[in-house]
């Protein structure tokens, strides 16, 4: 995992707040203090200074979002401090450079603060010898498990072994064998032999999740990671320990033996399981999603994501996904026929006779197009609220990924869902004759099947079958977020875009694509069909999104006022 040194605005930093050190002879200015894992300002460490200088120091136990433990010793570096004269002023060489007193002992870069004028050396023969030594010790009891180890391919032990390891082991004693395939909790499998005792997992669950579930038992070579006796390692964040475990000791039961990581194509994406919108990577191979892992975003999810969101991807590959366009009672089949017929009926519908229920799980671009359609038809609109458990780490009570977008784009009522009874009444009274439902099952929300049967036209778009799709006159198969491009606005008002990871099944098409066609056909005005074009159009016409462009969203998103 990359070390993130916190961004410091150069304009706001006064000279007293910075100091200059040299890394391998190259001077670099770093802030005197930097926020630690909790955001408290603490002195900048050597590893952060090296990172700022573009020099990576190999490390196992250090993680920028965890307290520093300093136990693996992989980050040892040599350093020196300026020699001081009797007047406590630094002594200088004739050429003006500082005279450095090299420390006789190395120091761990992850826990040693820098001081003014300090010289750090990471490329000396001594440093190399230390890394080789540390690695040799880490490997004495390590099993030769790489062929059956899920971490292989993204294992720090493998990576550093390549750089600093020895081809043959000098260890002639018998290796200590520890428990294998230990059931640590409902989602975690532990292999104690592979553990290098970096304690990242312990610190994560104790300090970040505040669930002090893991610890080290036994002594010396028999040190073993274990859950508290009689307890399971079971909280909603356990799978993050699999990501931060630098080796293959902690593995995900869900991903276990499913696919080797080097086959996975990683697509930057956004989790859709709650309003937080954790940044993710979708690991897929040949159109099958194998896993989700969190992606670093300091503003949204730091380096973590919850277990529920991480495992909530399996429905995307379900067999019963909607894959065919259906146009009941009309000879038209296929996309062109169905969209043409819908457009004809919508053009003929009198103002106010149409209602629209748009899911807050749709993207900003789709909601924008639906908003245009609704305004053109004078339609009553709403979204469906979806709430559940929340915690104070990441999980939000609002389970829709784009509630903020639905509000900003004027589709959701305030509070969300409060116009649903009015829509139901309208249908009952016969005032509403056409209903458009995008991505929701309305039968469980007061618009029951009897009411749906009264409608003249029911247009439904969804990804999985439900009672509403069964009643639809026109069924338009849509896409999961992983199958299309778009953007969501999270609960903080952060607009985050995501690209497409896998192909949709059958005839299913991204909603924005066919909606652009439909809106063009209904309004007679041409709307952009590309996501970039749509987003930029939306940004120029919806005040809340003013100033944003698709390109400017970048990988980490941009904030808007909510």
């Amino acid at each position: 995992m990359a070390i993130t040194s916190s961004p410091t605005d150069p304009a706001k930093v006064s000279p007293a707040d910075v100091l200059t050190v040299t890394v391998n002879g190259r001077p670099i200015t770093v802030p005197r203090t930097q926020p630690d894992w909790e955001g408290r300002m603490v002195p900048t460490t050597m590893i952060q200074a090296c990172e700022a200088a573009g020099v990576t120091v190999p490390h196992y136990c250090y993680h920028p979002r965890l307290p520093v433990a300093g136990n693996c010793r992989m980050c040892l570096v040599e350093y020196g401090v300026p020699a001081l004269g009797p007047d406590r002023q630094p002594l200088r060489n004739p050429d003006g450079s500082l005279i450095i007193n090299k420390s006789p002992r190395p120091a761990i870069a992850c826990a040693t603060p820098v001081s003014a004028g300090m010289a750090i050396y990471t490329d000396t023969p001594n440093v190399r010898a230390m890394r080789e030594g540390v690695l040799e010790f880490l490997l004495i009891n390590h099993p030769l498990d790489c062929p059956i180890c899920d971490q292989a391919g993204e294992c720090k032990l493998q990576e550093y072994s390549l750089e600093y390891g020895q081809a043959a082991s000098r260890f002639v004693e018998t290796k200590v064998h520890k428990p294998k395939a230990v059931d640590l909790g409902p989602r975690i499998m532990l292999d104690d032999e592979r553990c290098i005792l970096c304690t990242r997992c312990i610190r994560f669950t104790r300090d970040v999740v505040k669930d002090d579930a893991l610890g080290i038992v036994n002594r010396g070579s028999y040190n073993t990671i274990a859950a508290y006796p009689g307890r399971q390692f079971d909280n909603n964040y356990t799978l993050n320990t699999v990501d931060i475990c630098p080796v293959g000791a902690l593995t995900s039961k869900d991903f276990r033996f499913k696919m080797r990581v080097w086959f996975l194509k990683e697509t930057k994406s956004v989790c859709t399981s709650c309003a937080r919108g954790c940044n993710t990577l979708i690991g897929s191979r040949e159109n099958v999603i194998y896993r989700l892992t969190p992606r670093d975003n300091p503003e949204v999810n730091q380096s973590w994501m919850c277990d529920f969101g991480r495992l909530n991807y399996k429905w995307i590959g379900r067999e019963d996904r909607l894959r065919e366009v259906r146009a009941r009672g009309s000879g038209n089949t296929g996309w062109t026929g169905a969209l043409g017929e819908i457009a004809r009926r919508l053009r003929a519908a009198p103002q106010g006779c149409v209602a629209l229920i748009a899911s807050a799980r749709l993207t900003n671009e789709e909601l924008y197009l639906l908003g245009l359609l609704a305004r053109h038809l004078g339609a009553m609109t709403d979204s469906i609220p979806r709430t559940g458990d929340f915690d104070h780490i990441l999980v939000q009570a609002d389970k829709n990924p784009n509630s903020a977008g639905a509000r900003l784009l004027g589709l959701a009522a305030e509070p969300m869902g409060s116009r649903l009874p009015a829509i139901a009444d309208g249908i009952r009274a016969g005032a509403i004759r056409t209903l458009l439902v995008f991505g929701e099952d309305v039968t469980s929300r007061g618009v029951n099947a009897d009411l749906l049967a009264r409608l003249e036209t029911l247009v439904v778009s969804d990804v999985l079958p439900n009672p509403t799709t069964a009643a639809a006159h026109f069924l338009l198969p849509g896409c999961a977020a992983a199958e299309k491009r778009g953007s969501f606005t999270n609960f903080q008002g952060r607009v985050q875009r995501f690209p497409k990871a896998v192909e949709p099944p059958g005839d299913a098409r991204p909603e924005a694509e066919f909606l652009a066609d439909l809106v063009t056909a209904v309004t007679g005005q041409k709307w952009p069909t590309s996501i970039e074009g749509l987003f930029n159009h939306m940004a120029s016409s919806v005040p809340a999104f003013a100033g944003l462009t698709w390109a400017a969203l970048g990988d980490l998103g941009r904030s808007v006022a909510t």
Binding site: P143, P147, I148, K175, H177, P179, K253, R256, W262, F263
Partner: protein, 181 residues
């Protein structure tokens, strides 16, 4: 460029000496020792180190040696190998301690170029290029060999190194932690 047609002498125009020369060659070969092999009744004996079809092997106790590490699938230049890993719920490996083995293992012999990379990369000595060079089938699907067929064709390998068995025995002897089998 104009190539002039050669003027033939009268002996050449007779053609008989040319025909006689031809018959001489035929007669010489007719009377020589025959080198034609009566394939397929007779078969060529391939030399050691010949790179024929890759097959999977079992260890001396009859267990599948492959642990589904998928390195061969990765290295195979024409992508002839396709492995279905067991996943979390798949059947456990034949051998205790090896933890996994492939659910399915296919080699498309029409794609295979007999390069030997799979054998070279395999950390488990589970796949070897054997001496079969004549692979025939009447349909394309027949030429995709599955795990069962590959193991049947590969037979057992007499390798001395039994890493997983050795590790299990070593762990049992230590008696520090209970050993699952």
């Amino acid at each position: 460029m104009i190539v002039k047609r050669p003027e033939l002498s009268w002996t050449e125009r007779l053609y008989l000496p040319a025909i006689w020369n031809g018959i001489k060659v035929t007669l010489r070969h007719f009377l020589r020792r025959k080198v034609t092999m009566q394939y397929p009744e007779q078969r060529w004996v391939v030399p050691e180190g010949y790179r024929g079809a890759p097959y999977l092997v079992r260890d001396t106790e009859g267990h599948t040696k492959c642990v589904s590490c998928q390195l061969c699938e990765f290295v195979c230049p024409p992508k002839a190998i396709r492995i279905v890993p067991p996943g979390p719920d798949g059947p456990p490996a034949d051998r205790p301690n090896a933890e996994k083995m492939p659910l399915e293992f296919e080699i498309n012999m029409l794609r295979c170029i007999f390069c030997g990379f799979c054998q070279e990369v395999c950390p488990e000595e589970a796949i070897f290029l054997m001496k079969d060079y004549s692979l025939t089938g009447t349909r394309r699907e027949e030429m995709i060999y599955n795990k069962e067929k590959l193991l049947a064709l590969g037979g057992s390998h007499q390798g001395r190194i039994q890493k997983w068995t050795f590790k299990l025995e070593e762990a049992r002897e230590q008696e520090v932690f209970p050993v699952k089998t």
